[in-house]
């Protein structure tokens, strides 16, 4: 591998993952708006155009359905396209291609055709952006059979999940935590992790209640656990990592020990993944639960203007408030 163990911001860990994947397999292509000469609006593809050229790092027309749709055709030809959707809110023009074509082509062709496409989406809020730049659409894609979704929260996962998503023969949506892009962490590109990308991880062991989070909410959950610890409450934090499939056995195992679960995500609570997780936990851990499963997330409003987003997004106080409520039972 080209890189050695180092400390990288999440964005650069993804860059390294893309570069190493492209060096390892010349069928890997990058496509999207401004991904070439500019290196992407978040600079995640920085340097790749210079190294691999415009046949492999393709500045496309500004048309998301066309980007994902042509990626389908390239995948039919045996390529492994990595598509960048510039911002979460811009994925919706491609929603048809993703849900009716990318998700269903393998099934439609009875397994004869695979679409190893990666759709990278910088997602989530908290960056003071204008409308459509702060969304968390994971539930819409998790609801669609045929798609896989990864949500890295650390630099190490950002690197390896990028590699593993590209290696997967299934289409994978990579939800990249855009407000954490510049948070640094250790990356070891030389040793493939033992943990599968499709498994959840216990990010912090604890005994009194379980916090489940992913992507941009994981640091918040860890911060909340630290704050609670100062008050003598020992929280376990689980990083879901994969949102489709969800690794729920790891959650069940935790809840059976702690008896309490709080789910934190930026997406609206109504119809969000937290609801699905709560239902499953109720089915599998009913007799172990000491309190109702609580969710902390967005409200049933469109994503608000930036000067209000601090009240919309889960924060330390809202998470700790939910923890207090499950502990009160």
């Amino acid at each position: 591998m080209s890189t050695t163990s180092s400390t990288l911001p999440i964005a650069k860990a993804i860059t390294a993952g893309l570069r190493d994947a492209m060096r390892a397999d010349d069928r890997v292509l990058i496509m999207g708006e401004d991904v070439g000469v500019l290196g992407g609006v978040f600079r995640v593809t920085d340097g790749l155009h210079a190294e691999f050229g415009s046949q492999r790092v393709v500045d496309t027309p500004l048309a998301e359905a066309g980007i994902v749709g042509t990626a389908v055709g390239l995948a039919y030809r045996g390529y492994r396209p990595v598509v960048e959707i510039q911002f979460d809110g811009f994925v919706f023009p491609a929603f048809n291609q993703i849900t009716t074509q990318v998700a269903k082509m393998h099934y439609r062709t009875q397994g004869r055709v695979s679409l190893p496409i990666v759709i990278r989406i910088p997602h989530g809020g908290g960056i003071g952006a204008v409308e459509h730049h702060s969304e968390s659409p994971e539930a819409l894609f998790a609801h669609t059979a045929g798609l896989r979704i990864l949500a890295p929260a650390t630099s190490q996962d950002a690197y390896w999940m990028t590699r593993q998503a590209i290696e997967s023969d299934d289409p994978v949506i990579m939800l990249e935590p855009k407000r954490r892009y510049w948070v640094k962490g250790d990356v070891d590109p030389d040793h493939r992790p033992e943990l599968s990308p499709w498994e959840a991880a216990v990010a912090r062991p604890g005994t009194d209640a379980t916090l489940l989070a992913w992507g941009p909410s994981l640091p918040l959950a860890l911060e909340s656990a630290e704050a609670a610890a100062a008050e003598g409450v020992d929280l376990e934090v689980i990083d879901a990592r994969s949102l489709a499939p969800l690794d729920l056995p790891t959650v069940y195992e935790s809840v059976k020990r702690t008896g309490r679960l709080v789910i934190v995500h930026e997406a609206p609570v109504l119809g969000g993944l937290g609801g699905e997780i709560a239902a499953r936990v109720a089915e599998e851990c009913f007799s172990h639960l000491e309190a109702p499963v609580l969710r902390v997330g967005g409200y049933h409003t469109p994503y608000p203007p930036a000067r209000m987003e601090h009240a919309y997004l889960p924060d330390l106080d809202r998470v700790l408030d939910a923890v207090d409520r499950v502990l009160a039972h």
């Binding site: 048309a63 055709g73 039919y76 062709t109 397994g111 499939p245």
Partner: protein, 417 residues
């Protein structure tokens, strides 16, 4: 004089239509397209008009030879018989739906045979003649409309995409495939047996879909070897083409810098020549082309539709007079290259095909529903495995109960883990 201008007249018929065969079968010479038909632009006859398995000896490069013309006639008779039988099977409750291509046989057989063997075709759900020309058995189409599978053939083996139902969605797939061909070095080498192009098919209704316009943009920007081919059959269910476009569709692509032609879609030779010419230009690296074939959907949109609610029988009769099969037969008769024996042999063969389809469908068992869990993902997936397991456990409860054979209606609709 307005500061705004348009060079396009605001009526939808200001575009010449290229025709090689008049409705009465008369052949009109056309210098450029006649050369294409004569095979002058071809280094090899490979892939031309291969038809189904009954085609044997090399028929030579002339795409309009009497032998080939009789072949196109037979193809159109066969596919029309299969189409009528499919409608009948739907009426008998054997198919959930059927989308008839009656009247579009020349537009489809011509386009299907214009593609070379190595080319990739990307159809909608009404391309039964194209499928026939690519060697897809009609049984595979009927299976899909019966609800046995979503696509009964191998897209790689037959170099034909699945039938696409969300209209326009297939257009960017065609362009992406063509972009892959460019990267594979299969464009513009000068070898007609390996240089490859993609034929993207869609209808006049789908021309309004955004993905079609986006595909024009991608194809033009990257000069991808793709030919967009619209069968303008005048109706998108109940909505006439005039609602889809204020200008002739053929003119639309020119705004993208994509050269285009309008041809008579009920004229198998015009279609064949135009599509062959465009595909060869695309494979040579000259970029995309667009063809509008004017034809008519003689049946309703599907077996669920009632065309009498929105169009007149006079209109239908006018188009019946332009029937593509009759037209080719008249032309062959003028050439003195068809006789009653051949016509009768085609009819008998078509009848046999219809009977085979009838028995095939009537004798077809339903699949085991557990197959619904197959191929959701290429790699193992715990949620699908768990759902399959729960379904099987649910069904197993009833296996000892001789009175209950339903096995459906599982509560809860599956379960993730």
């Amino acid at each position: 004089m307005s500061a705004f201008s348009t060079t396009i007249p605001p009526v939808a018929d200001q575009e010449p239509m290229t025709q090689l065969l008049a409705p009465d079968g008369t052949r009109t010479p056309h210098e450029e397209l006649d050369a294409v038909l004569a095979g002058h632009s071809t280094a090899s006859p490979a892939g031309a008009a291969e038809g189904d398995a009954s085609a044997t000896a090399d028929p030579g490069p002339d795409l309009a030879s009497p032998e080939r013309l009789r072949g196109y006639y037979r193809d159109m008779v066969m596919i029309r018989a299969a189409d009528l039988e499919a409608t009948s099977l739907q009426r008998q409750g054997q198919l959930g739906l059927w989308a008839s291509a009656l009247g579009q046989e020349a537009a489809q057989i011509g386009a299907g045979h214009a593609a070379r063997t190595q080319d990739y075709l990307v159809p909608t759900y009404r391309e039964h003649g194209v499928a026939w020309a690519r060697g897809i058995e009609p049984m595979r189409l009927l299976e899909m409309y019966r609800g046995i599978s979503h696509c009964g053939w191998d897209p790689y083996e037959l170099r034909t995409h699945p039938y696409m139902i969300v209209l326009g969605s297939q257009a960017p797939h065609a362009v992406g495939y063509a972009m892959g061909l460019q990267r594979d070095g299969l464009v513009g080498t000068g070898d007609l047996d390996s240089d490859t192009a993609v034929l993207a098919l869609f209808g006049d209704g789908a021309s309004s879909e955004g993905e079609v316009s986006e595909s024009f943009t991608f194809a033009a920007s990257f000069q991808a070897p793709v030919v967009f081919y619209t069968q303008n059959n005048q109706w998108a269910i109940s909505v006439p083409t005039s609602v889809q476009t204020r200008v002739p569709l053929a003119q639309r692509s020119r705004g993208w810098g994509i050269p285009s032609i309008r041809v008579d879609g009920n004229d198998v030779l015009a279609v064949l020549a135009a599509v062959r010419s465009a595909m060869d230009a695309a494979r040579a690296g000259e970029g995309p082309r667009f063809i509008e074939a004017i034809t008519y959907r003689m049946a309703a949109h599907t077996t669920s539709d009632d065309a009498s609610r929105y169009r007149s029988s006079e209109e239908e009769q006018q188009w019946a007079d332009k029937d593509p099969i009759l037209r080719l037969r008249r032309h062959l008769a003028q050439l003195d290259e068809i006789d009653e024996t051949y016509v009768k042999a085609c009819e008998e063969e078509a009848h046999d095909l219809a009977m085979r389809l009838h028995h095939f469908i009537h004798d077809m068992p339903d699949p085991d529903p557990v197959a619904m869990f197959d191929h959701v993902y290429a790699e193992p997936h715990p949620v699908v495995e768990r759902d399959r397991e729960q379904y099987l456990q649910y069904v197993a409860q009833f296996e000892d109960d001789a009175d209950s054979t339903e096995g459906s209606g599982a509560t809860g609709g599956g379960s993730g883990r």
